[in-house]
């Protein structure tokens, strides 16, 4: 059996993480969760996820601030930022520079999200070969 892509979801809202994780698990992802930035970084180090979906605003840190931290790990290929508000172009630009791949605004279309992750993963995989 092929190894399932690993996702790390970092959000302080337990319901959100859980519901998202369980939906994406239905779509064939192996989901891990973290409730804060520190926890997320630790989990990433441990489980080495293929993609990270994280909220921009975390209780202990800004999502952008940990982008770089997570990027140091080469295995993490995809960083998707979740936001509940509008982001200015400046913010978006900054985020992209720090390593974000995609922004999604809550609430999001899960089918679309799943398809997008898969697309990005397969593109990276193709690049890696």
């Amino acid at each position: 059996m092929a190894k399932l892509p690993k996702l790390l979801i970092i959000d302080d809202d337990a319901h959100l993480r859980e519901s998202l994780a369980e939906v994406l698990e239905l779509d064939g992802f192996e989901c891990h969760q973290a409730g804060a930035a520190k926890e997320g970084i630790a989990a990433a180090s441990k489980i080495d996820p293929d993609a990270v979906i994280m909220d921009i605003q975390l209780p202990d840190s800004s999502g952008f601030q940990i982008c770089q931290e997570l990027r140091k790990r080469s295995k993490i290929t995809i960083l998707i930022m979740m936001t509940g508000r509008f982001l200015s172009s400046e913010e978006k630009k900054q985020g992209f520079e720090l390593g974000a791949d995609e922004y999604i605004t809550k609430p999001f279309d899960l089918a679309e999200l799943s398809a997008r992750i898969k697309q990005l993963l397969s593109r990276n995989a193709a690049k890696g070969q």
Binding site: S19, G84, R85, S88, P107
Partner: protein, 626 residues
Amino acid sequence: MASTRNRGKLAYKILFWFLLISLAPMIFVGWHLVGITQQSLRKETLAMQESLAVGFSDTTYKYVTTFRNVLTETAGLEDFVSMNPVKQQQYLNRILQIHFAVLELSVLNEKGVEALRIGRFLGNAPEMRDFRAEEVYTGAMGPRGQFIGRLERFQGLYPTVTISVPIMDQRVQPAKAVGVIVARVSLNGLSTMLAMEFPASGKSQAAVMTRDGFLIAHSDPREIYRPDARMPPEVEKVLTSQDNVKGGGEIGLEGGKRLLGAFSLIDKLDWIVYVQQPVEAAYQTAADMKAQIFRVLIWVVLFTVLLSLAVAGHITQPIRILKEAADRLGKGQFEDLPEVVTTNDEIGDLAQTFLGMSESLKEKTGELIHAKQELEKFTKFLEKRVDSRTRELKAAQDELIKKERLAAIGQMASVVGHEIRNPLAVINNSIYFIKTKLGTGGEPDAKITKHIKIIESEIQQANGIINEILTYSRQRELQLEKVRINDWLEELLSVYPFPAHIQVEKHFDPANPFVEIDKTEMQQAVRNLIGNGIEVMPAPKGGKVTIRSIIPEAGWVRVDIADAGSGIPQDVLDKIFAPFFTTKARGTGLGLAVVRKVVDHHKGKVDVESTVGVGTTFKLYIPTTA
């Protein structure tokens, strides 16, 4: 009154001086003339009266001497010298017959006793009187050889004089007086002559009197035939005190009456002839002259008054016009001034000066008025500036308040949106999970599927509301891009999901100007308007959305989005751009508020025209750029 006011005081001053100048010499000369005339008339009159008196004294003397001569002649007759009484009587009777004035005749013997006596009113045997001691006898017998005197009033009324001459016997040498012939003569003839000479109708009177006041004759018969006939005491006093042979002067009577009298002495008789007339009569000519001068004076006054009025009017007319003009000037009337006459004299000069002054005044006043107007204009301008600045400040303040309020709303909306989006996301995830799970276990219950769809739809709706609020309240910098308006609209419309029941019509201005817009925001605005248009034309009927670009004036492009919906009533039309105003069952009321905010943000404006039952057109004005 009107003419008085018209002439003015100057006219009366001129009149006064004219009168003074013309009348004073005349009155002076007239006065003197009358004085001189009176003087000379007085002299003349006196001289005339004197000569009359002299003349009449002569006449009187002759009158008396006539009778004496008759007596002398008779006494010289031989028959008379003989002293034959019979003869003598014959002669005497003849004398009585011839001379009516002779009243009585007597012959005195040498002793002075009456020898013969006849008279008109004597009886047959009259009394024989003795004259020895009397002047009648002694006078005649004396060296003078005659006697004229013994003035008496016959019957107490008629003045008589007694004349006696001696009867001289020439036959002896020297001649010897043998008797005296005596006659008593009436003097009425003198009065008659005087009355003829000085008739009662005239003013003059004449009289003859003795030195002791016996009135011998008078031109007025009423004065003379009286027992006590005398001249008025004042006259008598003057006349009896004269030493001169003749003379004259004024005599004042009791009662103020004045007479001009002249006298002449009949020295041989020692009688006085007196001629008088009232001073008024004597001075009649002078009085006439006075009257004449007075009449002339009146004419001169009249003439002078008229002349002065005319002259004064002529002189003061231009001055009055000047005054009137000055009055009007004083009231600030510069137009329609009375025609000022510019004559060739000082008044003309004054008029010229006045005209110059009024011109200058007009100019200065004009300048003043102009300056005042300028000042008013400037003040108004300043007021306007202040008003407009105040408005701007107010607007800025309002804007600031609005911005602050929007910022507050935005902040709150952001927080609320974020906080609601999380649960929404969770619900969304969960329902997705449920849906997926149900899908894997065969065909799910139709009602469950339906309700899942409802939940999904409501999530969409809630999310839409949050989006609108966040969009409206978002404070973001414009990200301007220069685009051609038509191209941009075309791009926007090409991706807009128009429903099938809506037709789209486009009319783009061929000029296709450049505009600088924030594409995201402006797109939001246009999309909101199109969305509204679609909403008011629901299926199945649908309708047409018309999008236009027009250049209404240089520097602007207008984008019209028109629908053919039911239109918006006027009372609603005023409020549609207000935030949170809505007529929809579900809506935030922020769609058009966003439109306005975006257009304002672009320094443009939005307008709306709507006709109920026809449709609504929104017009976005956007400034163009080169």
